[in-house]
Subunit: 405 residues, 2 copies
């Protein structure tokens, strides 16, 4: 007998039919003798509908009240799922964030979990009940309803798994696991049986949207085995853990890519006067996310700094730069569109210093020009022309033997 | 400066436009220097939509979970109203039932308020904030969400008014007050300025659906002045209190009527063996509400008992009686349809014993036959043919001078 946490996202509970479907999955785990806690998101479009109502009243609605409003979405799902589980014969109790004692700070709309006293959940499990908990929400020290921000329900699931010392936390999604690369574009992309938390963190930050980085970080901190599985089949999915088994110990474990990248280049008058930080402070203040930054100071040339942003931020970024040109002290700004980012991720890179060189070599052989480079301990990202993105991903997937079982 | 509670029902908050409208009403009370607590119901069809979802899953959904589900309706309204009040410049905080410390018993779907610790509400008022509280809901000793059953939001408003020692509790509705009779059918029906709690209780029990009896009882117990007003105009409405002012001291204050009444008559074999109680116990167990009961034991005749029920319960009542005929010990049952009930209500009746006689005399003059009679200290009800209902109501309204100002 195990203690398991099962988390279902918005599309898995979008209709009462889908709620009936996941009830059979939960049923299956329960009749196998497991203690089961289920965490649910809001049904399909509920959150958007509630946001729409608030926006009819205010462009900048009070954050505390938005949390109170939006938290009803998960509360509706949890009650309906509990009704269904009771209907098919399983004694089930639903709990909101405050009922589950999920304590957070008071940063509304982006609260962080501070404590989770699992006494009530454990008592209910001891009574052989299934417990359904609303994801995404908690309660502040002042007794106000808070929400956890993006990826919040995943984080709730992991936090509960940690608090009840669950054997595993299963995240049910539309996909059946984490792949070496996106199988729609990369031939031979293959589902990974295991992946390390840190690798998943890099993949999540690179836009592999299956799991929110915050939930992965939480799982990593509390060493909770996290499994990504499909709501629609019985596949085992991918298990995230601290260290993957030796037989899977590939140097590179995934190839991620992202289209619609723009490179901005700014040229300064010499002497360079330290306004580099000001540029990025100004962009951040305007909610423009900067990814890769490359600075170039070559004798005899004017210093330049290049950085990548997403295409949708371009117009805003140019406006911000132009209107702060004088304060920021640069003389010339240029941009290049039609770029993409391709990254390789793997914890084995730490002990294999030749990986980046092998990557560049392969891209050179494929005649793919590299415009920018960024590295971390377990990741190398390159910016390439968008037309070369898929060929680059396929080439790197092949280069690092990811199709092998 | 007064402390006031303002309660708005589902149709007053059905859309964001209506929420904007009532915000201006609240604004008006606040800028006049009052401390304001607002109690709201769920928006228009929200409750029906949530019920519909639950019914797709279960014919008999778990009551605890239904309360958790339905309570989201008021939570959505309160958050939206708070967003709107903040938007127009009033510092506003919304509170759910549990946040407002509204403690109930654990009878889900029909909970009773046990205690309301108003500390948090009073603290917020002391900070010059408007407080918006979700009606209809509370929290049990076990920390479960409960709902108060029909008329629950009115009861919440009165309970809060009692707990914060409000000067008045205003119930905003679709109508602009309590009338001497239904103005759609009775010419000269007139809005009452004042009415006693007990009179309102009789009128409410007679189907004048403006206020739920439980809310009126609560107001009576705590002597909270209760005012029924329109959300759509500035009319003063009708004030309910313990004793109305002398100048308004009419003997009869209202004429109520209700169509679609059926009279059932049951004949027993002699000797009558005490199964009268069993009949009504059996009917109650099958959720058939019996109103007027008349028993007739005349020497030389078989004993009979007649009682009135609503038309929609007739088929069920006949089935129940037939299938229990032997156990209940009666030999014959008959029914008469096409009847209606007309009632006069007024606390002055207690000290005016001739009122019933005056009523019967007038009905006789109008050639309206009386089929059944029921009296209480401050009410006389008669059952008459349905065709005579409106003429009877008009005649009695005239007989007791209710059109006078």
């Amino acid at each position: 007998m195990s203690k398991i946490v099962m988390k279902f996202g918005g599309s898995s509970v979008a209709t009462t039919e889908k709620i009936q479907h996941i009830a059979t999955r939960i049923n299956h785990e329960k009749v196998n003798g497991n203690d089961v806690v289920v965490v649910v998101s809001a049904m399909g479009k509920t959150t958007d509908n509630l946001l729409g109502l608030a926006m009819e009243l205010s462009e900048n609605p009070t954050k505390r009240e938005m949390d109170t409003l939006l938290s009803t979405g998960e509360q509706i799902t949890m009650a309906l799922l509990a009704i269904q589980l009771n209907e098919i014969g399983f004694d089930t109790v639903s709990l909101t964030g405050w009922q589950a004692n999920l304590q957070t700070d008071n940063v509304h709309r982006n609260a962080r979990i501070e404590n989770l006293d699992a006494t009530r959940i454990l008592d209910l499990l001891a009574e052989n009940k299934i417990v359904v908990v609303a994801g995404f929400q908690g309660v502040s020290g002042e007794g106000d309803i808070t929400t956890l921000g993006r990826g919040g329900s995943d984080t709730t699931a992991v936090a509960i798994a940690a608090a009840i010392e669950a054997d595993i936390c299963d995240i049910y999604t539309d996909v059946d696991g984490i792949y070496t690369s996106d199988p729609r574009f990369v031939q031979n992309a293959r589902k990974l049986e295991q992946l390390e938390y840190d690798e998943m963190l890099e993949l999540a930050n690179l836009g592999a949207g299956v799991l929110h980085p915050r939930a992965v970080e939480f799982a990593k901190n509390y060493k909770i085995p996290l499994r990504v599985r499909s709501s629609y089949n019985e596949d085992v999915g991918t298990i995230l853990k601290e260290e993957v088994d030796v037989e899977n110990n590939l140097v590179v474990r995934g190839v991620a890519f992202e289209a619609d990248i723009v490179r901005l280049t700014i040229e300064y008058e010499v002497p360079f006067n330290g306004s580099l930080a000001s540029i990025f402070t100004t962009l951040a203040a305007n909610h423009i996310n900067v990814d890769i930054i490359v600075q170039s100071i070559v004798d005899g040339k004017k210093p330049t700094v290049s950085f990548s942003i997403k295409k949708e931020s371009l117009a805003e970024a140019i406006t911000v730069l132009e209107s702060n040109k004088e304060a920021l002290g640069f003389i010339f700004a240029d941009f290049e569109v039609g770029l993409a980012k391709v990254s390789i991720v793997g914890s084995g890179m730490v002990s294999n210093p030749g990986v980046a060189a092998q990557m560049f070599d392969r891209l050179r052989k494929e005649n793919i020009p590299v415009k920018m480079v960024s590295t971390s301990e377990i990741k190398v990202s390159v910016v390439v022309p968008q037309n070369d993105m898929i060929p680059a991903a396929n080439a790197l997937h092949d280069e690092f033997d990811l199709a092998l079982v």
